[in-house]
Structure formats: structure tokens, C-alpha cells
Amino acid sequence: MKEAIITIKDLSAEVEGRQILKGINLTIYPGEMHAIMGPNGSGKSTLAAILAGREGYEITGGEVIYGGQDLLALDPEKRAAEGVFLAFQYPVEIPGVNSTYFLKTAYNEIRKHRGLPELDAMEFLTFVKEKVKLLHLPEDLLKRPVNYGFSGGEKKRNEIFQMAVLEPKFAILDETDSGLDIDALKSVSQGVNALKRPDNAQLVITHYQRLLNFIVPDFVHVLYDGRIVKSGGKELALELEETGYDEMMPAAAVPA
């Protein structure tokens, strides 16, 4: 049996004294794409944030093993260097900072961490231009400041582009479909599909089934009130779309 990329065991967490995650169990193996679906407030984005290392969450139980390490003990930049990537639901604007420079810094940090030589500006530019072509993105993206003045769709595409450049081992896509029109959704999905490889894994977080028309996950999990209440294959997403979240929940999981 292959070794898991990430194993989440009984993970519980609070935000400002409120219990959000109530014991999450999830194991993801190389080559797999998992989707987590759930209604607003079920804890989807909290899970993404905790895995990436955002501050403000208190872990009250459980653990996360990533590449044999205790993931939750690492600083966020260390996690990123180890190959954890979060495609943000709301990508952040950094005015005045050139996208290429930003990505080169990130890329070289990761290379440094892996004991590889850093790429100089010219080498990086050649490399990054290929990636731009691969994702059918306009080259002027490289010259613009990071996400600054980007439309919603451009920001999401830029996240996928960064993912293509940084080649993570484990990517979390946090509601990458939200706010996208159908064309942008298609183009983002193509990007994600193109990046799927036998040695990496993806965790796609979404509220709606429509993303899963374009990105086909191997497993679908339903998150409800801080717990995974149902897991299955891609057909689960369709079932969910028809019945709605409330219908599907076992009576015990529905808060009174």
C-alpha cells in the first residue's frame, strides 16, 4: 500500500471559543483528488485555513500527519516549502509588487528548502513563460502587481497559475469556483485537471456541485456541522445536488 500524502485524525478546532471542527478524519493518497462539499458554516474553509496554518484557530484535538511530520507544528511558510499549497478563496492584492518577482521569491524559497540551487531572473522568466502558455494565460499577467486590480476571475486563475509554477505536493482549493462565470470556471478547471499527477494530491472545497462537472474527483465528502457525515464517489455530488444538504443528513447530525 502507498504511503498517504496527508492523514487527518479526529481533528477538532475552535474559533473564539466556538467549536467549528468536531473530529475530522480524512486520508488522502498520491494521485487522488478529493472534494469536500458542505453548506455555509459547516467548517470547510476553517479546515483549509488550519491545514495552511492561518492564525486564529485553536486546535482542541486530533492531529494532521503530512509526509511523516506533524503538520500543525510547522509555520505556514515551512508548510508551503514542504509542498502544501492553498488556492485562496479571496486572493490578496499586493500593490507595487511585480507578480514575476513575487513568484520567483516563492519558487526559490521552496527550492532552497529542498536543497536545490535557486534560479536567476532569466532562468525563472523562461520557466514561468512556459507555464503561462500551458494555462493559456496572457503574458502581461507576469508584469502586473500581484492580484492588484485583477477581476475576480483573473484572481482565481492567478491562483491556479501560481499552483502550476510552485508544483505543490498537496493543493487545497478553497471555493475556487465561487464568483466565477461559466467560462472562467471552465478555464480554472482545465488548469486544475492539467496539474493532476500520480505523485500529488488535491483537496477541492466547494459549496456547489457545478465545479464538479469540470473537475472530476475520486472521492466526495460531505461536511456538515464540523463532521464528515458521508463519503462516496463522484456520484455523491450529484445526489447531493438533487436532495440538498438537509435531506441527506442523518437526523442526529441536523442541529435542532
Binding site: 496554518g53 505556514p76 499586493i94 513575487f102 516563492a106
Partner: protein, 482 residues
């Protein structure tokens, strides 16, 4: 984990690299200010009678003035009788010498600061006038510049060698009656740089002055005068540092620029006076009056400043746009960290027709720093079609600092166009986390965000200095995030 507010607060703590003191044999005047001291300074510099009279007039006027209180800065009252107004390395106290006669410790001091003065080691492409406390140590590339008719020397030498030019322009842009500190400077100024670019000459290298305060308890009162004759061009840069001390020291300079028809002066400052320690103890009071007059038609004056040092900065480099079609520009980055206070901005006075001015101000506040932009745009009656564009941005790092904006606009001509934009942003934890998630450390993230924010101003600096300014900003922000 490293993205909370306390970690942001921590990122602004770093050692001041230039805080060393050199043990140089120094000759100084006793502390205190009176006519006797002024006569002593004038005598030390072997000045002509007219200049002594000029100083005394300024001093008598100064005694009638009150120290201003309108600026947004709190500091204990300065005792002007407790300041030493003249301090010079013994080897230089009686006027300029050749480099061989200068105390090697003086040269060493500048070498340590990265400003080698010796013929064989000096910086390529940059002529430097080095000022230590009250005197100029030496000026490099004087001969080469002289070959194209450029005069670049210490102010004291200019008084001896070019009295007509000094007499004609001294106080013509900043009269001694201008303000309290200008009056004080006019009375007791010691050294500084003098520069004259003749008609039609484009200065072949960067000119620069490096100011260093070394002696304790002394104030530095430099005077710089730059005259660009018709159709000439010059780019000038000043840098400054001082030892770390618990007491505050006063630096009150006056800089005057004169641009005649079609002349262009670009004046850049990288100010890194000792800012005081992380508890706000010590540091330089930097109370400076800088002004240029774009006197001739189609002339242009550009001020670019990167202010990272000093406990208090009080400075408004301005341009009087007298010539028709003249242009004034002001680009500023001011950073206050720990307990630093900066009240800085510009004055653009439009007199001539079709005059244009641009103001780009970027304030950065970290720690307990307080940063104020204060600017005046004044369009006089005759300034038909004058235009101004101002942009004042403030960036906050952490939640203990402050940013303030005081723009004043006076328009007396209805054909003028004046635009003012302002913004305040915070280096967000979101931005830092975003960088962290891309494997970039918090400190690197803050540097990147701040440098991105200052880009418009750094682009105005000469290449080498832009890099230096970026590095300086990074050092000044060190520890503002952990």
C-alpha cells in the same frame, strides 16, 4: 506561527548600523549661543566682514522668535544654551587641508560608512563632499569637475573662493526671516556644500554630500547652496548618519536651490540620522528648511527624499515656481518606527504661467511611530493654467502607530487645476499570510510589501541609491514582524 499583531510589532526592531563613535581629537566651542560664539565661528572660518554681519543680523532676529509649536511632534523643550555650535576634528579646525594632512581617524570614519575619500579608493561616478560635525573633510573629483567649469566644494571654501556667487544667492530662497530654525541656521551655520553648474553644462557625475555628526552635545547646522545656470543639469544626493547616544542632538540645516532658464536640479536625500532606541531614547532632531526656486522659464526642480532616521523629522522641501512653464516635483518616503515622529511634506508655490507640480508622498508608520504629511499648494493670481497633482498615501504596520495628513490648498487663479488623492492602508495580516503560504517568511513579506508600496518614489532615485534605499528600508523595518 508568525502572523499575529505582536509579531508585526516586533519586525521594526533592529540595530542601527552607523551608531559607532570615532575617537577623534576635536576642537569645540563652549556650549551656548551668543554674539561671541558667532564671531568665533566666523573667525574660525576666516570669513569676510559682510558674512559676519549677515550672521549677526540673523541672530538678532532669532532672539525675537519663539520656537514653533504647530508641528505634530512631542519633545521636551530644547535648551539652546546647552548646545555646542562648533566642533571640528583638530586637524581640520583651521580650514580645509589636503587629504594627507587629515587625521587618519577621520578618513577611517568615512571609510567605515562606505565613503572612501582617498584618491585611489573613491567611489566611481560620484563626487563626494564629506562633512564631519562642523567642517568639510574634503571633496573628491574637484579637479575633473573643474575642467567643465563646475564648482563643487565645501561652503567655507566657496566663501573664500567664490564670494560673489555666495553673496548673490545666500538667503535668496530661504531668508533668515523665514522661520525659527532658518534664522538659527543663518546665525551659526558651519559647513555644507556649494555647487555651481555653468551655462549649458550637464554635470557628468552624481554630486553628493555625506553628513556625519560625531561629537557629543554638538549640533550640526549645515548650509548647502546649489545654483544651476541656464540650460544646465545636475543630480545631487545627500546622506547622513550619527552615533547612537542617549541624548538628543539637533540638526538644523538650510538648503537653497536656484534653477535658471531651462536648468534642471534633481536633489535626492537618504536621511538616516540616528533614530533613537526602541524606547524612544536619544536620536537626532532633524529640523530642516529646504527650498528651491525654479526661477527661469522651463526650469525644473525635483526633490526626492527617503527619510528613515531621526527621532523627529520636520522638513518641507518646496519649490517656488517662478519661471513660466517651470516644473516642481516632490517624491517622498518617510518611515517612522519605534517612537520616531515625522512631520514632513512640501510647499509648491505657483507664480509663473503654465507651472506644474507633482507631489507623491508615501508615509510608513510602524511600532509607535507617528507620521504626518503636511503640504501646501499655493496658486497665485498670475499663475494661469497652473496644475498640481498630489497623492499622499499612508501605510500602517501594526496597531500602535499613527498616520496624519494636513494638506493645504490655496488657489487664486480660476484656470488652475489641482488634484489631491489620499489613501491609508494597513499591511494586512492577510497579505502576510498570503506570502507565508507561498513560502515567503514574514520579514521578507513585510519588506516586499513596503518596497512595493514605495516603488513610485524609488524609481526617482539614481539607480545605486535606489538599491541602497531599498536595503535601508528593509533594515529599518527589521523586527517589525517576527
Amino acid at each position: 506561527m508568525s502572523t499575529s499583531t505582536d509579531t508585526i510589532d516586533e519586525a521594526v526592531k533592529s540595530e542601527y548600523k552607523y551608531g559607532f563613535y570615532s575617537d577623534i581629537e576635536t576642537e569645540s566651542a563652549p556650549p551656548g549661543l551668543n554674539e561671541g560664539i558667532i564671531r568665533f565661528i566666523s573667525d574660525k572660518k576666516k570669513e569676510p566682514e559682510w558674512l559676519l554681519e549677515w550672521r549677526l543680523k540673523a541672530y538678532r532676529h532669532w532672539t525675537t522668535l519663539q520656537e514653533p509649536t504647530w508641528q505634530k511632534a512631542d519633545y521636551p523643550k530644547i535648551d539652546y544654551q546647552d548646545i555646542i555650535y562648533f566642533a571640528a576634528p583638530k586637524s581640520l579646525a583651521d580650514g580645509p587641508k589636503s587629504m594627507d594632512e587629515v587625521d587618519p581617524k577621520v578618513l577611517e570614519t568615512f571609510e567605515k560608512l562606505g565613503i572612501p575619500l582617498h584618491e585611489r579608493m573613491r567611489l566611481a561616478g560620484v563626487a563626494v563632499d564629506a562633512v564631519l560635525d562642523s567642517v568639510s573633510v574634503g571633496t573628491t573629483f574637484k579637479k575633473q569637475l573643474g575642467e567643465v567649469g563646475i564648482i563643487f566644494c565645501s561652503f567655507s571654501e566657496a566663501v573664500q573662493d567664490h564670494p560673489d556667487l555666495v553673496k548673490k544667492y545666500l538667503g535668496s530662497v530661504v531668508p533668515h526671516t523665514d522661520n525659527f530654525f532658518a534664522a538659527l541656521n543663518s546665525a551659526v551655520f558651519t559647513d555644507g556644500s556649494f555647487c555651481y553648474i555653468p551655462k549649458g553644462v550637464r554635470c557628468p557625475m552624481e554630486l553628493s554630500t555625506y553628513f556625519r555628526i560625531n561629537a557629543a552635545k554638538s549640533g550640526q547646522f549645515e548650509r548647502t547652496l546649489i545654483i544651476a545656470d541656464e540650460d544646465s543639469h545636475v543630480s545631487y544626493l545627500e546622506g547622513c548618519t550619527a552615533p547612537m547616544r542617549d541624548e538628543n542632538q539637533l540638526h538644523a540645516a538650510v538648503v537653497e536651490l536656484i534653477a535658471l532658464d531651462k536648468a534642471e536640479i534633481k536633489y535626492s536625500t537618504v536621511q538616516n540620522w540616528y533614530p533613537g532606541d526602541e524606547n524612544g531614547k536619544g536620536g537626532i532632531y532633524n529640523f530642516v528648511t529646504k527650498r528651491g526656486i525654479a526661477k527661469g522659464h522651463n526650469s525644473k526642480i525635483t526633490w526626492t527624499q527617503v527619510e528613515t532616521g531621526s527621532a523627529i523629522t520636520w522638513k518641507y522641501p518646496g519649490v517656488i515656481l517662478q519661471g513660466d512653464n517651470s516644473v516642481g516635483e516632490f517624491y517622498s518616503v518617510a518611515l517612522t518606527n519605534n517612537y520616531q515622529q515625522a512631520d514632513t511634506g512640501t510647499k509648491m508655490i505657483h507664480i509663473g504661467k503654465n507651472t506644474r507640480s507633482t507631489i507623491i508622498s508615501k508615509g510608513i508608520s510602524a511600532g509607535h511611530g507617528q507620521n504626518s504629511y503636511r503640504g501646501l499648494v499655493k496658486i497665485l493670481k498670475g499663475a494661469a493654467n497652473a496644475r498640481n497633482y498630489s497623492q499622499c498615501d499612508s501605510l500602517l504596520i501594526g496597531d500602535q502607530c499613527g498616520a496624519h495628513t494636513f494638506p493645504y490648498i490655496e488657489v487664486k487663479n480660476s484656470s488652475a487645476q489641482v488634484e489631491h488623492e489620499a489613501s491609508t492602508t494597513k499591511v494586512g495580516e492577510d497579505q502576510i499570510f498570503y506570502c507565508n503560504q507561498r513560502a515567503i517568511s514574514t520579514q521578507d513579506a513585510v519588506n516586499m510589501i513596503v518596497n512595493g508600496y514605495c516603488k513610485d518614489v524609488f524609481q526617482q532615485l539614481p539607480m545605486e541609491f535606489a538599491l541602497e534605499a531599498q536595503a535601508l528600508l528593509s533594515v529599518s523595518l527589521e523586527g517589525s514582524v517576527g
